[in-house]
Symmetry: C2
Subunit: 154 residues, 2 copies
């Protein structure tokens, strides 16, 4: 079976993620694409560096897929997250959710990105114009001063 | 300038629509993809035929883009709708909305598909397993017995 939840260092293809959820029973596919934004609160980003506990991150993406299948039984989900060094405008994450009807596709896709920010162990280093900084967890609520979470957070 | 709102008889490429809204200021892109579903209320579709008042349909897609720009000033929108004969699982419509932050991308993309169903003069003929039927407008609230709207609806 083709993987539906994966972490990669390669550039992401939207089509490749969509293909994994497209099917005859679906009439709607929602995708969410997260890209590297140049400015955050007026500060210019030059590029971003994502790191992950890779096997754990893939397990957590699978968990999100299972949560969606429970909440929206007719949904099929695929998620790919890139790690490594990303330039401005490059794609960091692609979520695709297919459903028979459109409401569920929007809801489940939204749920997926919020859960990714909450539970997937991927963190990023911002390379600003005037320096660099480890941003900590994805919600920005924790700072990882050494670039990685403390052991108890793994 | 590249067109951001268009009707075509050619297969749609998700990437091509996304590329028209991707930009350095955006951190989020939401896409909605409408595909041809095999079963509707238990009835099997063999293929679908879409027709449109082409120039009017493109104008209405542009209007939806303008409405979005007014409601969500930071959003960029592109929409492509295919017409002609489509097989099961083929893509009928692709909407892409980019925004700096994700909430607006979801909201505006949802708004776009609802407005397409409301105001864009595209109608479809369902080729069922046991016959064929003009479905009328996209909300299914009006039947076009001759396959096209009456004059006053144009």
């Amino acid at each position: 079976m083709t993987k539906k939840f994966w972490i990669t260092e390669q550039p992401l293809s939207i089509n490749e993620v969509v293909e994994r959820v497209s099917r005859r029973e679906a009439g709607a596919i929602n995708t969410f694409i997260g890209t590297v934004r140049e400015f955050t609160h007026g500060k210019r980003t030059l590029h971003l560096e994502y790191q992950a506990y890779r096997s754990m991150a893939e397990k957590k993406l699978e968990q999100i897929g299972a949560e969606i299948a429970e909440k929206w039984p007719s949904a099929e989900t695929a998620i790919a997250h890139r790690i490594g060094s990303l330039k401005i405008e490059e794609i960091a994450v692609v979520i695709a959710v297919s459903t028979p009807h459109r409401s569920e596709a929007f809801e489940a896709s939204r749920y997926a990105i919020e859960r990714i920010k909450e539970i997937v162990p991927i963190w990023k280093k911002e390379h600003w114009e005037d320096g660099e900084e480890w941003i900590g967890n994805q919600k920005g609520t924790k700072e990882y001063v050494n670039g990685v979470p403390d052991k108890e957070e793994k």
